[in-house]
């Protein structure tokens, strides 16, 4: 049921306005924080106020402007978009708190927080995009807005990372543009409101080109191998940026895009006939294993997390590529699960770096004694990634496995098991070193007048996110929690037929 | 270089020749050019415009809009020459943008030396000077004749302007540009050099009032038509003459 409502456009607009205000008045710390928090709360409020409707099956739409018939900018808060918007707007709030603590005394904070807000604006814009044009508009804007954040340090290394980042994402964007334009030329519409707009009467070759272009275009940001090269390098950015952008916004936007392509542009039914998703699934499976293996060899904490991200993102792609309802549900839920777990880890790593200056796995022996709360949170996140029951990760893996069996893809269960082992292989050594190895040298004591192991603004988001990872794992089936929203989304994906649930 | 130029020229020539040899023969009375729009001008031109010289009729009446912007073109040339940097040496202190460009070209020979080498400044022969001054009034009379007889004989405003300018230029050569420039008072100069377009704009507005059409001529009132036509011609002759003369004088100084 479609209801015209301005909230889908207001949500991205709020952070856009916030960015403008930060650029204009951001020199004062008070106003910068005031606007950022105000926008974060308003945005969260807007998104959450749509949640009850979404659960009832209501879809809020708002057509902003139509250029020529069939081409225009429109917003549509369907269940999947809502899911993504909820994740990103919630995490924006926490990351903002974290960033305020982390960036204290850093340079060019006006620019930082301004573009930070712009990124979130575009992320929500992507979530609520009604058609591919709108989607692409925000998708590319996100690329541009993240660039100043990636090169924030302005060192030679940062500039190089920025250049590589832009090369990958802009070429990907070019492919996405071509794909989107071809969709428009063949289907005559760009809407993402239906379970599939393409039909097979335009020829398999054209469809294949479209699929390849769009998958490359969005896959670049999702870090699917061999298009992942930018992700580990871009880790030179400040940690809040790495956390929000490389664990949440940028990479998830890519995965979100691929899912949209599979279920809303092509449709499960058509892809089921064409079989294009099989190579995509294989590639995703390969990425999961390969990047986990690479992660084992990384000593730099953030780079290890980056390779872990690449592998986790491919879970989402693989889940989507299986074309079964259960796998799709798992893929969607994993957007949230991975986001909260990974952001926890990034926060912890950032807090360690800020508090002790350590950035490598080999340097953090015995850190649990110095930073017990942070390391506990890290451990929870690690357990979630391995897929231990009662954590969020377990839900995903369970449903992914069920979905894979539903699709007769037994090999995927194998991949899951191998991946879980590899996850354990690269996360548990960190936990082990932190808890069970003696410190090489005494850790620096708490700063004067501090009761906690690190700044409160750093610790608070860590605790909340870790708690949420547990909460997700325990309350999977409760209405209103992510799982139920994902189910609504999946229903709409398979409304046009396809593999029977 | 020469061979390439020749090749380019031939490449251009070929299509052009193909184009022109395939045109209808112009000599024949049934050529499109003689059966087209021109027929009406020949048949009704005199009656509609009051001009026996149909070239003038086309120029001022039928296609007066073209002529309007023709005089604008020549005004553009004047504005162009006036807008260019003047004086032989770069300004002391200079302008940064100018200087930025000029820095590269500093290798050039000093302008003054070049000027002297050209032999400028040789005094004018008294014979030439006397003849020019003697001829000037007659040239002016000739120009006026072309101007006012233009509607029945070959001639008209532009031709008169060219002769007027010739007087100024000839005088400029023998008396020096400064003396000639004094012939036109400073206060009048901006008005005079814009005389032609301004005359057109005025007539256009009058025509608009009289006939309801921009640059329209009242076809039934030959006196008014002739007066308007003459006004335009005078404007063109004055404005065109001043501009042409000034173009020369500006480059001279």
């Amino acid at each position: 049921m479609d209801v015209v409502d301005a909230r889908p456009i207001l949500a991205p607009f709020v952070s856009f306005l916030c960015a403008g205000l930060v650029f204009a008045f951001g020199r004062s710390i008070f106003w910068r924080r005031f606007f950022t928090f105000l926008a974060a709360f308003i945005k969260m409020g807007l998104v959450f106020s749509m949640l009850p409707g979404t659960l009832r099956g209501v879809v809020y739409v708002y057509e902003f402007v139509e250029f020529t018939p069939g081409i225009g900018i429109g917003f549509r808060a369907d269940a999947y978009g809502m899911f993504f918007a909820l994740v990103s707007s919630t995490l924006w709030l926490f990351t903002t708190i974290y960033a305020i603590g982390y960036m204290q005394g850093d340079r060019d904070r006006v620019r930082f927080f301004g573009f930070f807000a712009l990124c979130v604006s575009t992320t929500v814009g992507v979530a609520f995009a009604e058609n591919l044009l709108t989607f692409f508009l925000f998708y590319e804007t996100l690329t541009i807005c993240t660039y100043p954040l990636v090169v924030h340090a302005e060192t030679r290394e940062a500039l190089r990372a920025g250049r590589i980042y832009l090369t990958y994402t802009l070429i990907g964007g070019g492919f996405a543009l071509i794909g989107a334009v071809m969709v428009s030329a063949t289907a005559g519409t760009l809407t993402l409101a239906q379970p599939g707009i393409l039909t097979d009467d335009v020829g398999v070759v054209t469809l294949a080109i479209i699929f390849v272009c769009l998958t490359i275009g969005f896959g670049v940001k999702a870090g699917i191998m061999p298009l992942h090269g930018w992700l580990p390098i871009a880790m030179v950015a400040p940690t809040p940026v790495s956390a929000l952008l490389h664990a949440v916004a940028v990479v998830k936007v890519g995965a979100f895009g691929v899912t949209r392509v599979i279920y809303n542009v092509f449709g499960a039914e058509l892809l089921g006939e064409l079989g294009f998703t099989v190579p995509l699934g294989l590639l995703a499976g390969f990425t999961i294993v390969a990047s986990s293996t690479i992660a084992l060899t990384q000593d730099h904490l953030k780079r290890r997390l980056a390779y872990s991200t690449i592998s986790q993102l491919s879970y989402i792609l693989l889940g989507a590529a299986l074309l079964t309802p259960l796998a799709a549900t798992a893929a969607i839920v994993h957007v949230a699960n991975q986001a909260f777990a990974k952001i926890t880890m990034f926060f912890v790593v950032g807090a360690i770096a800020r508090t002790t200056g350590k950035k490598y796995v080999s340097e953090i022996d015995g850190i649990a004694a110095r930073m017990p709360i942070s390391m506990a949170a890290f451990t929870i996140a690690a357990l979630s990634f391995v897929g231990v029951p009662l954590t969020a990760g377990f839900i995903t893996k369970w449903y992914l496995a069920l979905g894979a069996l539903q699709a007769d893809a037994w090999w995927f269960v194998l991949v899951l098991i191998v991946s879980a082992l590899l996850n354990a292989g690269y996360f548990f050594p960190i936990v082990h070193r932190a808890y069970f190895r003696p410190a090489k040298e005494p850790w620096p004591p708490f700063e004067e007048g501090r009761r906690f192991e690190t700044a409160k603004t750093l610790l608070f988001p860590i605790v909340i996110c870790a708690a949420y990872v547990l909460l997700l794992g325990v309350t999977a089936e409760v209405p209103g929690m992510p799982f139920s929203i994902a189910q609504v989304a999946v229903e709409s994906f398979f409304a046009g037929g396809g593999v029977a649930p | 270089m020469k061979a390439w130029s020749l090749l380019l020229v031939l490449l251009v020539a070929l299509p052009l020749v193909v184009g022109v040899v395939n045109l209808p023969t112009h000599d024949a009375p049934d050529a499109p050019i003689h059966t087209g729009v021109g027929v009406r001008y020949l048949e009704r031109g005199v009656e509609e415009t009051g001009n026996k010289n149909l070239v003038t009729a086309v120029l001022l009446n039928y296609r007066g809009f073209d002529t309007f912007f023709e005089v604008i073109v020549i005004f553009t040339a004047l504005a162009a020459v006036l807008a260019l940097p003047r004086g032989s040496a770069a300004r002391p202190g200079g302008f940064p943008e100018e200087a930025a460009h000029e820095a590269d070209g500093a290798g050039g020979r000093p302008a003054e030396a070049a000027r002297e080498a050209n032999g400028a400044g040789v005094p004018v022969s008294p014979v030439v000077s006397y003849v020019v001054r003697l001829m000037a009034p007659f040239m002016a009379m000739f120009a006026l004749a072309m101007l006012f007889r233009g509607h029945v004989t070959p001639g008209g405003g532009f031709q008169a302007a060219a002769v007027f300018a010739a007087i100024f230029i000839a005088l400029g050569l023998v008396l020096g540009p400064a003396r000639v420039a004094e012939l036109v008072p400073d206060d009048w100069r901006p008005w005079l050099q814009g005389a032609a377009p301004l005359a057109f704009a005025l007539i256009a507005a009058i025509g608009w009032r009289l006939t309801g059409a921009f640059l329209g001529f009242p076809t039934d009132d030959h006196t008014a038509q002739e007066a308007m036509g003459l006004f335009l011609e005078v404007g063109i002759a004055l404005g065109g003459g001043v501009i042409l003369a000034r173009l020369f004088l500006e480059m001279e100084t």
Binding site: L137, I144, L170 | V37, R63, P85, E98, G105, G194
Partner: protein
Amino acid sequence: MNGGWAEALPWTIVVPMVGAVLTPVVAARRPRWAGAWAWAVLLAASLLASGLVYRLATDGPFAYDVGGWAQPYGIELRFDHFSAWVLPLLLLFVVIVPFSWRYLDHVMPDERRPAFYALLLLNAGGMIGFCVTGDFFNLFVFTEVVSLSSYALVAVGGRGLAAFAALKYLFIGAVSSLLMLFATAQLFALTGSLNMADVAGRLAEVGGGPAVMVAFAAYAVSFMVKTAMFPVHVWLPDAHAIAPSPVSAVLSGMVVKIGIVGMLRVYQVFFAADVLELGAFNQTLVWLGAISIVMGAFFAIFQDDIKLMLAYSTISNIGYIVLGLGLASPYAVIGASVHVFNHALIKATLFLAAGAIIHQTGLRTLSDLRGIARRMPQTSAAMAVGAVSIVGLPPTAGFVCKWYIALGAFESGQAPFGFALVFGALFIFVYYVRMLNAFYFQEPVHDVVLEAEEAPWSMRAPVVVLATLCLVLGVLGGIPLAFVEPAVLDLLPFWGN
């Protein structure tokens, strides 16, 4: 036919022209008044032009018979959807002129200002005339007004290299004008008429043939030179780079477009007459357009001088437009027509921003201008917006056009050109990233940069307004698109047969 707002049609041309003639009169005592006068004149002309656009929007295209002569005996002015370009054109002038007030301080002494503004007004008036005339010979006359003033405007800033660049421009431009005159004469010899609509009708009777073909080709080549398409682009970079920045904005943004408008006019005639098989010609345009995109981008990458780089990117962007026209599918032509305006807007933003930086620092190369964003944040931000826009990335004005032209490429089954279009643009972004890095993320190397101040408001305001428009039109890009759509759909049935 005449009447109502149509009466304003000839005056829209005449007002800037007469304004130009009166500039030396007005500014006789105080040369600095010339700038304000020119601005007022342009404002008045834009008011008239908005009246014309209003009439167009309510009643559709209309014509005006100059002197009240019935067609084809007099000169006809026509105002259709392509002519509507005069309104944005004038508005851009209205924004650019205030920028030039202070900018000229370091370009020329005060006493030359009246002549400069007269040239600017003549340029504007000539372009308006060019866009609205319905007569081939009249088209030539207006071309000359525009060209002549442009040659001079290039050279106002300096004596040596500027004059040389202007002279090069003049020689090439004059030959192209001659070709145009030749083509006009050719058509006249074929049909005995000069009125565009009448020529179309008579051509249909005469039929095709080599002579018609040569006339069309002469027009085409002439306009290609005016737009600086790939093989005949050599005059553009030097001329546009060396001209004072407001002039560069005018030349790069608008003057090169008269070639496009002229091409559309000639298309209208020849397609209405339906005497030529133009599929091959369209294909040529597409190829030349694609090559222009790539070559322009390629050369731009190697420039250190910011204005030279902007000049090369004009070639690239003209390539988009020509490619769009050659594709001859509705979306592509709509996109190309709108890019005529959008590119003017973006290029004006970039050139004015670059001009403000050059004015404040006296430096014009990337290596010198490192770190300028610290000292000139607003101008640099405008430059960044322009850079993103010219590459055609969302959410800016450049994106909308690129989308439509690419859509047209795929729609007409010429997918490779769609790829060329999309990736050609990214190619040029290599340069702009270097520029943005230098401006924002690198340490200043030049003392002047460290002490630079933000430009005076009369220069900053135009830049900021233009940059904002670049962003606004990225989101509201549909307005101009919807506007040209009827004209394009009207024209297309005759297009590439």
